[in-house]
Every structure is written in structure tokens, then in C-alpha cells.
Symmetry: C2
Subunit: 329 residues, 2 copies
Amino acid sequence: MKKLINDVDDVLAESLDGFAVAHADIVTLGAERKFVRRKDLKPGKVALISGGGSGHEPLHAGFVGHGMLDAACPGQVFTSPTPDQMLAAAEAVDGGAGTLFIVKNYSGDMMNFQMAAEMLTSDNATVIVNDDVAVENSTYTTGRRGVAGTLVVEKIVGAAAERGDNLSALKALGDGVNKATASMGVALTSCTVPAAGKPTFQIGNDEMEMGVGIHGEPGRRRVKLGSADAIAAELVGSILKDLSMKRGQETILLVNGFGGTPMLELYLMVTAAHKVLAGAGIKVARHLTGSYVTSLEMAGCSISVTAVDAASLVLWDAPVHTAVLRWGA
Amino acid sequence: MKKLINDVDDVLAESLDGFAVAHADIVTLGAERKFVRRKDLKPGKVALISGGGSGHEPLHAGFVGHGMLDAACPGQVFTSPTPDQMLAAAEAVDGGAGTLFIVKNYSGDMMNFQMAAEMLTSDNATVIVNDDVAVENSTYTTGRRGVAGTLVVEKIVGAAAERGDNLSALKALGDGVNKATASMGVALTSCTVPAAGKPTFQIGNDEMEMGVGIHGEPGRRRVKLGSADAIAAELVGSILKDLSMKRGQETILLVNGFGGTPMLELYLMVTAAHKVLAGAGIKVARHLTGSYVTSLEMAGCSISVTAVDAASLVLWDAPVHTAVLRWGA
């Protein structure tokens, strides 16, 4: 295992410390590093909290800040955070208007966030993200997995929370964005979890895992490495089949790297995805391209498409100021 | 070779097309893809132009926009752009106040930018970036290499150009920032140039290349993989030796990933770098952490430190709106 680390047991703590010091203008680290919270809270606003296993950086802590999350709870690598972390976060960022949890659909996360939600005495609701169209049920999941589309949910719901929407409106909005979002990924190499010390899976030099999950869990099938155009055709084709959009539909296109793929290739995948979308008459209103929802250093990418209307585009375009996503005033 | 590409010969063109469509609000692609230029030019402003081999994305095209570069000329992967590209870019973004070229110190780039500068009929000057303290002379270089510190030069000089500084002032500022900046990197794995189809260098499973260049060219020595703290001690130690700063000096700290290293590790390196800097009494006034000046999918990182004063901090903090760096109003 080749990693820039000291002791395997200290990876998360030392990384969180670096994150907190590098972005001290935006975030504060909670006691015992239970959560990363927005530094300047907004009273009267619904608190948005997400979290999950680490190893997907910049998700979620990189999206804490104005216009997006109020707190993120980092578990150990590919391991759910505990209900204790979520409760501590909820108490720390409570603005008096309730709490919305945004949870990726993995069994561990679902169980722990549900326990936290039940223990929390103030109003709360949960949006479950399950945008991955690759497979039903998987290594860590009942139903579809939550993957890169989580970022889109967090951005749009975060903007609505910032403008003052109430808890039930945000819950409905989040469910709607999740339903309008579909994703699928491909892996060219495995990642290596520090505590495991060896690759999560073995894959041949000429193979790829089509439909891979963001923990390196199996997708639809193992096949020979294809061209970017062929990969885009399958990923976007599966997405469009799931979303069943009409020609002329406007969308957000997220081409997301898994951590080990250069931007040179990600932008090439944008070109490849555009060909497929144009062929189906689907319009791309907004782009986001980069390694935002990763699997440590796994090579590969996912494509996410979200169907949008004028109202959701306003929320996507609304100002955001986090460690990683930044635009608007 | 496992990459998300179609034909090896089309990698750069298809990637540039994707970049241009994804950031059509900020950039325009020049004819024959000779350059990426800022969409909204500012008349009367000194034009800032950089460029170099591709494979270092987001450098340079990702830094074209308000407050940074006016144009970037992309060569093939790890290959200098041609004088023809630089001339076309200079003519396209001429604001009537002269042109400043920002050039990383590699023999090919130096020769081609110099030819372009000589052919250009309008006023121009060149800032040469050579921030890499690892080695004197190298595979593609006479003297020190230009690496991740280039980003810092482009940001600070870009902000000064945006506020209206003239050509000679910008040239002096750029030279000053370069002199105040030192960098050094380490590689854990090699990258693979698409046209070559195999890794640039071989490295053992327990080895790292200390002082590596951003094309995978040799550094100081090949050693056994060390801890993050030991790596930071050597990188930051070499940097501090070069900059010979006084205790209490304020700095910008750039922890830069080479493309294949997760943010989890980069932020851990921030913590490691802080320990060394604190020990030397050096203050970190600003942080930038991420994969900004890459070597395709190489695993590893570089650390850059720039000594700053109040005036250069104002320029660092000044608004920037590019594909990748964004802050301020």
C-alpha cells in the first residue's frame, strides 16, 4: 500500500485536522472530531446534515458552508458514522427550524441516521439518496445505492434552505431532486482502504467494472476496457432509460472522477457524454466536472444527470461558498 | 494502459472540447484549438498568457478567467505548445496594454515562448517560473524546473493585471513572487503518457521518488516509502532552506496533488506540513489544497510555500473566477 500517511489508525483524524485548518474561514471541527460544521450558522434556517464513510472526499465535508450543508459527519473510511456523531452535529447546528438529514442509501448509514433521527427531540426529516441505476441491492445496500447525485441533492436543497424554505418543503424538494437524478459509474482500477492495506478488488489490465459502486463494490459486470464513447453510451444510456425524459429536457450533467482519473480524461468524457445526450435530444443546462464523490484513488468515473426546471436551476445557480464548491456572490 | 479515451491521437482535442463546453460561461476555445481564452476580455488590461504541455490539468486552462489568465496554450501531453499557438493567443486577447507571458522553466517551453515573444510586434515581457528546489537541471530543464508555484504566480500577477497594473510592474511582481516561492514534490507511482502507452518510470512497491518533477522526471533520489511526517519534513525543510525566511514570516501553503492522490491524504499532508512550518516559526496565512498542477494520474504530492506581505495577500485574496479557482465577489 502506497499512501501519504503516518499510522493507519490516525489517517482520518490527521486529515480532518488538515481540512479544518485549511478551511478555518468556512468550517469548524466538532469536539472529538465528531463532525465538521459551518462556522457561521444562520439562525432560523433548517439545518442540513449529511455524512457517511470517509474516502469519498470532498464529499461531504467539502460541501459544508453557505448555501449547502451545515454539518457533515465523517465515519472511518467506507464506514458509517455513528448516531452519536449525528446527534452531536444536529445539536451544534440547530437553528430552531428543524433538521434535514441527507443520507446515501447504504444499510449502515440508513440504520445509524435513523437512530439519530429517533433520538433527536426537535423536528427532523430525512432525504434518502439512491441515484445509482447500475444495480438493485449490492454489497452494502438494500435497493439502489446513493452515489455522486448526492452532491446535486445537497446543492439544490442547500440553496433552498439558505433562502428560508421550511422543513417539509425541503424534504419534498430533496426527494424530488433525488428522483430526477440518475448516475452510473465505471472503474478501471481498485482503491485500497488504508486499514485493509490491499486493493478492494482485483481487476485485469484490460478490464473494467461497469456499474461499480463508490466503495469498489461490484457493478453490473466485468468487461474488457472499452472506448470513452462506448463507456459514455452505456452509462448515459442507462441513465436516460431510468429517467425517461422527453426530448428537449434540460439537465445538469455531472462528470465525476473517482479519485485516480486525470481531468484530461474527465473532460474527454464530457465530450463523449454530450454526443449521447445530443442524440437523445437532451439539453445540458449546467455542467460540473471534477473528482467530487470519490473512492479514494480508484480510477474511473461516474456520470450523473439531473432533470431540472427553471426553479431548480435557480437553486443550482444560487451562491455557494464551501471548501470545494464555490460560485455566486 | 487504462484510460478513459477513444483514439490516442484525439485525447487533447476531445478533452479541450469538453472543457470548452463545460465552461462556456468563462472561456472560449480558439480556432484549431490553439488556445483557451477568457470569454469576456477587459480592454486596456495587460494580457496574461501561459501554457505548456497538457497533462498538468487544471493548469493552465483551468485558471483562465477574471483575475487570472487571459489565455492558455495547451501543447500535446508533456510537450510544449508551438510559437504559432502563443502568437495566435496573444493576438486574440490583446487589450492594447501589452502581453505578459508566464512560462515554466523547461527548455521546450522557453524556446517556443521566446520565439513567440520575438515575433510579437506589441510590447511584451516574460516571467519565468522556476520554483522547484529539488534539483538544478533535469531531463527537460536547464536550471530549476517550474512546478506548482506557477499557480501562485498566475493568481497574484493575474489580480494585479485585473486592477490595472502596467506591464513592467507586472513583470517585476511576477519575478518577485517566483523568487518568494519554493516547491518540492514526491511521487509514489508513475504516470502513463497516452502516446507512450506505458509508465514513464518504474518504481518499486515500497519506493518513492523524492524531488520528482511534474513529468515524472527524476528527482533527488529513490528511497523507501516514508511516513507523511518524514516526507513533509524533507519537502518543507528543503523549501525553507531555499527561501531563508525569518521566524514569523507569513506564507501561502499550497499542498498539491499530482492527480492520483486522494484529498484524504492531501489534507493529512497539510497537517504534516504545519508541524514543520510551526517548528520553524513560519505562519501560514492562506491555504490551497487540491490537485491543481498534476502529472496525469501520478500518485504523490508537492508542497509549495510562498512568502507574502500585506500587498501580495491582497492580490491573493482578490476575486478570481475561473473554471477551477473561484473566490471573492
